[in-house]
């Protein structure tokens, strides 16, 4: 078993329980805030450089043959079952609570299906789907790249004049955009169908009335697709960045995976806010 040095911490490692010595107690909050902002700025700059390099290598990079296909297949078939289960239940819950509320107010459920489908296409499938997908795909990417950093494989690549972003992040970036968007479109279908099931079972809404696409026009479809592509582009970049900035033995890999899951989810939420508001002003 090769020697994984976790007990001898890397220099500069802060105790994970967050206790920092050498600062008077009442200054502690400002110190944490200041350090947080500084870390955020440095992380932001490094993340931005990873994003630019990913774009550059997507079009210009010399790539390992079959890498994109391998990552795409792996991402796809590992998350289809997972997304079906999770998003199926989310769809049922949304329709159930929406129908319950409308039932209280007007008791007229014929528009519930239409409003719900419009929401799913425009935002729900992409945003909630991407957050859930981020936990799956994001942690996978960070785990693989993180363990390659910890076992010095990434440094070995640098010694051969190869930028790890070209070899590790770019193929996953392309694979994630293609496969991720396909999975999210599939998720939208799952949410609509599971919603139909819930509406029919619990509120007796006839599927033909439920499946009413009156509200859905090309604006919604375009916004939904733009969201899918943006989120599926952001997830590999953020998780790749978290993977590449791993330190501290196998415990560091765990930390990187945690950060990737949370940061990808936050990235999706932020992008959701940006795209939703901008599409709101453009189209309405």
């Amino acid at each position: 078993m090769d020697r994984i040095s976790t007990t001898s911490r890397p220099p500069g490692w802060r105790d994970p329980t967050g206790s920092v010595s050498g600062v008077p107690l009442w200054l502690e909050p400002t110190r944490i805030l200041g350090a947080g902002v500084l870390d955020l700025a440095r992380a932001g700059r490094y993340l931005w450089s990873v994003f630019l390099r990913t774009l550059y290598y997507t079009f210009r990079g010399k790539r390992e043959k079959g890498a994109v296909w391998r990552h795409g297949l792996e991402m796809g078939n590992r998350s289809v079952f997972f997304m079906t289960v999770t998003m199926g239940f989310v769809g049922m819950l949304f329709v159930h609570s929406a129908a319950y509320q409308v039932n209280q107010i007007t008791g007229d459920l014929h528009l519930v299906g239409a409003a719900y489908i419009e929401l799913v296409v425009r935002d729900l499938a992409a945003s909630i789907g991407a957050v859930v997908l981020a936990t799956r795909v994001g942690s996978g990417i960070a785990a693989e790249i993180g363990s390659m950093v910890v076992t010095d494989q990434v440094d070995a690549m640098r010694m051969c004049g190869t930028d790890p972003v070209e070899y590790l992040v770019a193929p996953r970036f392309i694979a994630s955009i293609v496969t991720g968007t396909a999975v999210l479109v599939y998720t939208a279908a799952v949410m609509v169908l599971s919603g139909m099931l819930a509406a029919n079972l619990y509120f007796g809404v006839n599927p033909r009335i439920y499946l009413n696409l009156v509200y859905v026009d090309w604006h919604e479809v375009l916004t939904g697709l733009v969201k899918c592509v943006t989120y599926c582009a952001a997830i590999p970049v953020v998780s790749g960045y978290c993977g590449l900035s791993t330190f501290g033995g196998s415990e560091g890999v765990g930390w990187a995976t945690t950060r990737a899951v949370v940061n990808s989810a936050i990235a999706v939420i932020l992008l959701d806010a940006i795209i939703s508001t901008s599409s709101y002003f453009i189209f309405y």
């Binding site: 997972f82 289960v85 239940f89 609570s97 693989e144 196998s250 765990g254 995976t257 945690t258 936050i266």
Partner: protein, 262 residues
């Protein structure tokens, strides 16, 4: 692949998928029984429990608050169309509060908690297994379940409960602010909507869910942490599996509880 195998391959794949799930579900159940057995002669290391409560809370409050604020905000943004159409402005408070307290609050807090604390717990345990620290405990005649696992499970269930309360509050705050700016519904109107229609049962159901979610996240993260193989890459795989099984567990439990108790 020989033609015969080509036919068999999907069957074998599905079969293997089911045995995997059965193995993992069974393993989590055995772990749960093991933990329950350690409660009766209450053999819990209090110092470890305090340390975990502090580190779990400290690490996840910011993340939970941030994401719940946005949940509250998007709730109102989504509801605007419906509300403008039906003109039911006074009901916005009730509408968003109902969904947040019963469904979205607990689920989103649990997802973030699983990502932040669950994944971290799996990583810690997996690292301790790989560096033989768990074997070290066994060699010292100390029972790893009562020393390592029980304090973490209790801390996670308690923390998930508390964070759900904080998350609900922040989400409602977010909705109130958004309702004020976007639909210019006065805060008092919003609060009146919440106060009049929300029954104690709605709030209590959400908190019951958070306890269920907390224990699901605790069980699956400890299980995958202890059953890690294969050095550093193994840690990544364990964390990945833990996050996924927590998410699936959360949504299934949410569905069951919503329809059993709702």
């Amino acid at each position: 692949m020989r033609p015969g195998e080509a036919v068999l391959f999907p069957v074998r794949a599905v079969g293997r998928a089911f045995t995997d799930i059965a193995f993992q579900a069974g393993g989590i159940l055995i772990l749960a029984l093991g933990i329950a057995r350690r409660f009766f002669p209450p053999d819990i290391d209090v110092r470890e429990l305090k340390r975990h409560l502090f580190s779990m809370g400290n690490r996840s409050v910011m993340v939970v608050a941030f994401s719940c604020f946005f949940v509250g905000v998007t709730m109102v943004v989504q509801a605007t169309i419906l509300v403008q159409e039906l003109g039911a402005y006074s009901l916005v408070g009730w509408g968003s509060a109902y969904v947040v307290l019963r469904e979205l609050g607990p689920v989103f807090v649990a997802l973030m908690f699983s990502g932040r604390v669950g994944a971290n717990n799996t990583a810690d345990l997996a690292t301790m297994v790989i560096t033989e620290q768990v074997d070290g405990l066994r060699a010292l005649g100390i029972d790893p379940i009562s020393f390592l696992i029980v304090p973490r499970v209790i801390a996670m269930v308690v923390m998930c409960f508390i964070l759900t309360i904080i998350g609900d509050a922040v989400a409602l705050g977010g909705s109130a602010i958004m309702a004020d700016t976007m639909l210019d519904i006065d805060i008092h109107v919003f609060w009146k909507g919440v106060h009049d229609f929300i029954k104690f049962k709605d709030m209590w159901l959400g908190l019951e869910k958070s306890v269920a979610f907390g224990s699901i996240i605790a069980m699956s993260s400890c299980f995958y942490g202890l059953n890690v193989e294969g050095g550093a890459p193994g840690v990544g795989r364990a964390v990945n599996a833990s996050v996924v099984s927590s998410a699936v567990g959360i949504f299934i439990a949410d569905y069951i509880m919503a329809f059993m108790l709702g």
